[in-house]
Amino acid sequence: MNNIFKISYRNLLRNHRRTLLTASLITLGVVFVLVYTALAGSFKSYMIGQITDSSMGHIQIHKKGFVASIENMPLDKNLNAKSLEFIEEKLKNSKYIQSYSYRIKFGGMFSNFVSSTSMRLTAIDPNSEFETLPALKGRFQNFDALEKGKIVVPELMAKGMKVKKGDTVVLVANNKNGSVNGINLKVEGVSETMSGPGGRDGYIHIDDAKKVLRIKGVEVSEIVIRLKDASMLEKAMKELSPILDKKNKSGKSAFELHTWKKLSPFYTIVKMLDLMNIAIQIILISIVLISILNVMIMSVYERIREIGTISAMGTPPKTIVKLFLVEGFLLGVFGAIVGAIVSLLIVQGLDMMQITYSFGRNSDLILEPVLAIKDVLVVSVIVVFISLIASISPAIKASKLDPVEALRSN
């Protein structure tokens, strides 16, 4: 086999300009795919980071039926003290969980004494919430701390209602029995959603929620969980699955467990980025396929008499197939290796240049492209594999040449 490699390698060098051109084309394709993957990966990891670190956490637990009616934020689908005791025991014993936080979600009317508007409220325990969602504070502006009696208002709503930090506002809400209650709160800051200053999501302290909703004891709408390692999502879900074993009166699971992927609409964007990646890989495959096929067909035509000679000497057809397959293989390997090296250099360069971009309200986000070894390997394997596939037909053609005919050609 070594000798087949040696001869194939020399055959590639005999037309070094063409070999270089073909290999460069493959290299270019590989670079294109890998740099795109790294850039898309940077954007994707920023998006996922924003989703998990400032809004959803990695995993959420609710009472059965809460997610289905999440838009109306039902108060009758809250977790009670007994449920929490059961779940908490599982959470504390988990080896994947970094921290978790309790929230009460409800709808209310927000009033500045002149006009009022509806608001979706997330009531949090600031200590555990900021630990579980480390990027949440970054979405609050003019913000010091969310103490009791304070509210963080969505930015555009604050503008529209003309309220600013320190202003007193009223929050009115129905509790689960239908009775109305209201409390005075002081504006602590403004918030924005991931995609900008809009939205209707305000934040208050969990104790204020209990006060306005007249909740006695412990009651929670959702538990937000942060994992030590985001890549352990599936394992953590499996570990937490005994939570689902608890049945309610109708014999179904009493709780529901969701990953951020199930809950966030942004996951479809992530999937779209992955889909585009596949599309670009298909373009790469076409480039490799066509260029290798082209160069191999030319090689066979140029060397017909030589093939006749080695065939006359007694080279078995199988060996002739191998000679041409190895030629295509070497072209693919060369293109993949050089492509990977150039891509690593470009990605390193882009990383060092600290290019900034903006998304929603967040400007000066730094592009941090990272090339995962896995991506490099996948792309390289695809390129080499396709190079082999493209060489099959010319190689078989070469092996089937009639030696008499082949020796007669010029």
């Binding site: 000798n3 087949i4 001869i7 020399r10 055959n11 060098l13 005999r14 008499r305 030589e306 006749g308 000679t309 080695i310 065939s311 006359a312 000497m313 007694g314 080279t315 078995p316 057809p317 199988k318 060996t319 030696p403 008499v404 020796l407």
Partner: protein, 227 residues
Amino acid sequence: MIEAKNLKKVYRVGELDLTVIDNFSLEIDEGEFISLIGPSGSGKSTVLNMLGCLDTPTSGALDINGNNITSLNTTQLANFRGEHIGFIFQSFNLIPVLTVYENIEYPLIMIQNLDEDERKERIERLLKEVGMFEQKDKTPDKISGGQMQRVAIARALVTNPKIVFADEPTANLDSKTAHMIIELMKKIQKEHNTTFVFATHDEKIVANVDRLITLEDGKIVEDRKVA
């Protein structure tokens, strides 16, 4: 050694069946130095290709060293050629990307799979025999036509074939070089008892052979021993 009986070769050209060789029978003994002569189109190359197992006859029987050639498939034919037959071509047909040494080494690696020591011993002996030892690291484009044919002879002999077929081996050489090549082949034939079969027009070869077979329209018209 070679026994051909009633060989027939028909080529299909468009709608027509063209019989190039018909009722061709021939016996060749070990160590003979034979020339096939005849005008263009007389079927010399076709006979050479069939006897050399490059082409299969349409009908008839061909036996070489006790092997029934007509029953072999493509791969078996290739293996048979690799084991028993050597070829020398008019245009030398060396592999341009390999050095002189590697060109001779090629059949030993790709076909006979010999170990390195044995290869080296055999190749160096042949290189000295054909007078190309000094040029062994040059590629074919760095040597003359006569030198290329010497290398081709060494390549044809390196597998220790019983028979060597040569199609116009001197046609691309000047007369002095052609003469040296013929002398070389004659010497090798004597030393190794290798059978040589030529298809040629070259008077110099004809003058040196043991047996002369004249072909016309695909038939043997004369088969005589030369003293």
